[in-house]
Symmetry: C2
Subunit: 244 residues, 2 copies
């Protein structure tokens, strides 16, 4: 087994059945490993994509600019994610995929994905499922942006990232990477940087989380979850993670 696909396997096992054959099919795909500096685009809005990108190390985010130049951050990605898996079927990007911090990624050619999924319908189904969970996450975010206050929105992204990091790493309640600038937090929650700053401070003052050096630690999970109105069902993990 390649080292590169460990996080991907952990994630796929969390959302469905992953057999040895499927793992082998994945490992048979050639990977082109690449380093990216913070702010670099993996692929940009309007481009025709020829490969999808497995995140190995660091974090990526997807974002979309309005014609007026406002940015909405659409999702945040951690190792094991393939944020532009959809580009296998929708070649032309409708948003940007950007390095949030310095990253290592592995590019996988669409041709190779095609071979793998045509050889294994079960793998095709699992990857389809993965893209559907991506869509479910958009629904959850849309609801959070449209229907909750900014403080709850900030809490929500912390909850989601906590649960997702927990799935691939072994946090044991400890800190997880949260390297977003307040500018970026603002563009996730659809609010101004001033509000983002206030909200992050408020969460810390209330003793719900601590933020330091690009890492977040959840101090009071029940309170944070309640404030965020966080319901992790949309992540479609088969098994609840043990969370303290």
């Amino acid at each position: 087994m390649k080292a590169e696909t460990g996080n991907l396997f952990r994630k796929l096992e969390a959302i469905g059945e992953l057999t040895e054959e499927m793992k082998a099919a994945i490992d048979a795909m050639p990977l082109q490993v690449k380093s990216l500096a913070k702010g670099e685009h993996v692929v940009s809005d309007g481009e025709i994509s020829r490969h999808s990108c497995l995140l190995l190390e660091g974090m990526l985010h997807r974002s979309k600019l309005t014609p007026q130049g406002n940015r909405q951050i659409l999702s945040i990605h951690i190792p094991g994610d393939v944020p532009d898996l959809h580009s296998y079927h929708l070649k032309k990007m409708d948003h940007d995929l950007v390095a949030t911090v310095d990253c290592q990624v592995a590019l996988i050619a669409h041709e190779d994905i095609g071979q793998a999924i045509h050889a294994s319908p079960a793998l095709s189904d699992l990857l389809w499922r993965e893209t559907l969970i991506d869509a479910a996450t958009f629904r959850a975010w849309m609801t959070m942006i449209g229907q909750t206050q900014t403080l709850a929105r900030v809490a929500h992204i912390l909850c989601e990232l906590y649960v997702r990091w927990e799935m691939i790493g072994d946090l044991e309640g400890g800190p997880f990477p949260f390297p977003l600038s307040q500018d970026e937090v603002a563009d996730v929650i659809g609010a101004s940087i001033v509000l983002a700053s206030h909200s992050l401070q408020a969460l810390q003052q209330r003793g719900l989380v601590s933020l330091e050096g690009g890492k977040a630690t959840v101090l009071d999970w029940p309170a944070l979850r309640d404030l965020a109105q966080f319901e992790p069902a949309y992540l479609y993990y088969l098994h609840e993670t043990r969370r303290r």
Copy 2:
């Protein structure tokens, strides 16, 4: 060819290649036609779904309630749509699917979908593509809700529905069904009913659209599109529709 699948075929042809074999595979699936009264749920949040639903007549919408009871409308559906196609892979619903007005739908058992797509990988790919466009639409809505003013948001949903109705019907610039209450418009755009009311009035006073008897007519397409900052690329139609 069955009468029921006409709109579905038109829509699939708009987003990809639909061969005669694929049409036959679709028509081979048994349909259970059902009438729904306005407000009835096709399927509800948390339920396990055993079939997906092809909309024949009327309109449906998907919505998600926050724990506090606020509703976000996630998408609006017109005949030919299969709004819960994703439930084939994600059995447990994370939102409601509701009749916006009295409807006719055709239920398709997940088993039958499974047979059809396993017999035809090309059909599987096209349906996968369809669910990815669904996700792209969520991204566009999220951006509109997070980053634009309410007036632009209302204009945006009018633009989108106009283009989508145009794809399946032959509007020729004429009126299309727009039966949403202002309450519902408010929950689409993530704003209060008061703002929804004001915005709808403003669009009419500016001469961009007219709304009457549950129908909308676009009077000044370029102005409406510009106000909405509407970029239809996210719908992934292969060919531009001729629009006046």
